[in-house]
C-alpha cells in the first residue's frame, strides 16, 4: 500500500483526488471556444447540467401531478414551495417577491450538494468559481434592488449609520466600512458554501487516506468515522443550501429596506 502511494507521488495524488477540478477538466471533454475564452464542456459542466435537470424535473413533475388530495410527492413539493415562500419576508413583506429566485437557488444548490455526495461524480458546489458566481448574482440583485427601491442618493447615503459622533471624521469612515462590508457579503457567501462542501469531502478523503498511510488496521476506525462524516455531510448539504438561500434573501431585503433601518 505504502509502496503504491509512493508510486503515485504527491503531485499525481493531488491531481487525482484533491484536485478534482484538474481531473474533471479533462474528463468527458468536448472542447469549445468563444474567441480566447475557453467554454469547453467537461465533467463539471455535465454534472452542473445534471443538477439543473434534476432540480427542474423534481419541481416540474411535482407541479404537473397536482391533485386536490395530495400524495406524498405532492406534499413534499408543496412543502418545498411553502418553505421557499417563507424564506421571503425576512425584513419586510415586500421582499417576498424575490422568493422564487431564492427558492430556485436553494433547490439547485441542494441538488448539486447531494449529487456531489455520490461517488465518482463532481461536486459542483465545491468549486469556488461556481459559488462565487452565484454570490455575485446575489450581489448584483442586492445592489439593483437597493438602488431601485431607495433611489441612488438615499441608498448611498444610508450606508453611513445615523447618530454618529464626530460627524466629519466618522461619517466617511463608517460609510467606507459599510461599503466594504457590502462587498465582503458575496465573498463570504461564496466562500462559505465552497469551503463547507470541500471540507466535507476532504475529511472523508483524509480518513480513508489514513488507511493508505498506516495500513488496513486503521480501517476499523477510519471507515466508521468516514461513514459518520458522510452522514454529517448530508446534513451539511441541506444546511449550506439553506444558509446560502436565506442569506441571499436577507441581503436583498436589507438593501430594499436600507432606508428604514
Amino acid at each position: 500500500m505504502r509502496a503504491m502511494l509512493a508510486q503515485i507521488g504527491q503531485n499525481e495524488l493531488r491531481e487525482k483526488i484533491l484536485h478534482t477540478f484538474e481531473a474533471a477538466r479533462h474528463a468527458w471533454h468536448i472542447p469549445l471556444h468563444i474567441g480566447p475564452i475557453d467554454i469547453s464542456i467537461n465533467k463539471s459542466i455535465w454534472f452542473l447540467w445534471i443538477g439543473a435537470a434534476v432540480t427542474f424535473l423534481i419541481l416540474f413533475v411535482g407541479s404537473r401531478l397536482l391533485k386536490d388530495r395530495p400524495g406524498a410527492y405532492q406534499v413534499i413539493v408543496e412543502e418545498l414551495y411553502g418553505f421557499g415562500r417563507n424564506l421571503g419576508g425576512q425584513v419586510g413583506e415586500e421582499g417576498r417577491k424575490w422568493f422564487p429566485y431564492t427558492l430556485s437557488l436553494f433547490v439547485f444548490i441542494l441538488v448539486l450538494n447531494f449529487i456531489g455526495l455520490i461517488p465518482n461524480t463532481y461536486p459542483v458546489t465545491a468549486n469556488i468559481s461556481f459559488t462565487l458566481v452565484l454570490a455575485l448574482l446575489t450581489f448584483i440583485l442586492t445592489q439593483y434592488e437597493g438602488f431601485r427601491r431607495n433611489g441612488a442618493g438615499t441608498y448611498l447615503k444610508s450606508f453611513a449609520p445615523p447618530g454618529l459622533p464626530l460627524k466629519p471624521l466618522m461619517v466617511p469612515f463608517m460609510w467606507g466600512i459599510e461599503v466594504l462590508g457590502e462587498f465582503t457579503k458575496p465573498l463570504t457567501l461564496g466562500m462559505r458554501l465552497y469551503a463547507n462542501i470541500l471540507a466535507g469531502h476532504l475529511i472523508i478523503y483524509v480518513f480513508l487516506g489514513l488507511i493508505l498511510y498506516f495500513g488496513s488496521v486503521v480501517a476499523i476506525i477510519s471507515v466508521p468515522l468516514s461513514v459518520v462524516f458522510y452522514a454529517f455531510e448530508i446534513f451539511v448539504a441541506i444546511l449550506q443550501a439553506y444558509i446560502f438561500a436565506i442569506l441571499t434573501q436577507v441581503y436583498i431585503e436589507l438593501a430594499m429596506f436600507r432606508e428604514d433601518h
Binding site: H19, I37, D38, D68, S104, I128, L134
Partner: protein
Amino acid sequence: MALLIAELDPTGIFDLGNTSLIFWEVITFLILLFLLIRYVYPPIRNQIRERQAQIERSIDEAEKTRAEARELLAEYRRQIEEARGEGRRILEDARKQAEAQRERTKKEAREEGDRIIQRAREEIDREREAAVREVRREVADMVIQASEQVIGRSIDRDEHERLISQALDDLEAEVAGATAGDGSETA
C-alpha cells in the same frame, strides 16, 4: 484578470477563473430560473391557493352547518318544551274536569238521595195519615159496636160517626194543646 487569478491562486488548487464552468453556470442557472418561474411555480401556487380557498369554503360551510344544527336543536328543544307544557296543561284540564265531574256526581247523588229521602218521608207521611185514618175508622167502628152492645140498640151511624169524629178531633186538639203547652213550658 488572468494575472490576478494567477496571483490569488498560484497552485491552481482553488480553480478560480474556470471560464467554462462560469459561462455554463450562468447560462444554465438563468435558463433554470426562467423555466421554474415560468412553468413550475405558478401551477403550484394556484394549487395551494385553490386548496386554501377550498378549505376556507369547507370551514365556512361547516360553520354554517353547525349554526343550522344549533338552531335546529334549539327548535327541537323549544318544541319538546312546548309539548311538555301542552301535556301538563292537558293533564291539568283532565284533572280539573275529573274533579268537576266528581263534584257534579257527588252533588247529583246527594240530590238524588235527598229526593229519595223526601219521597220516602212523603210516603211515610201518607202511610201514617192512611194509618191514622184507618185507626180512626177502626176506633169509631169499635166504639159504635161497643156502644150498640152497651145500649142494646143501633144508633144512627152517621150521627154517631160525627160525634166520635168530633170527640177524636177534640182529643187531638187537646193532645196538640198539651204538647204546645209542654213546648211553651219548656220554652
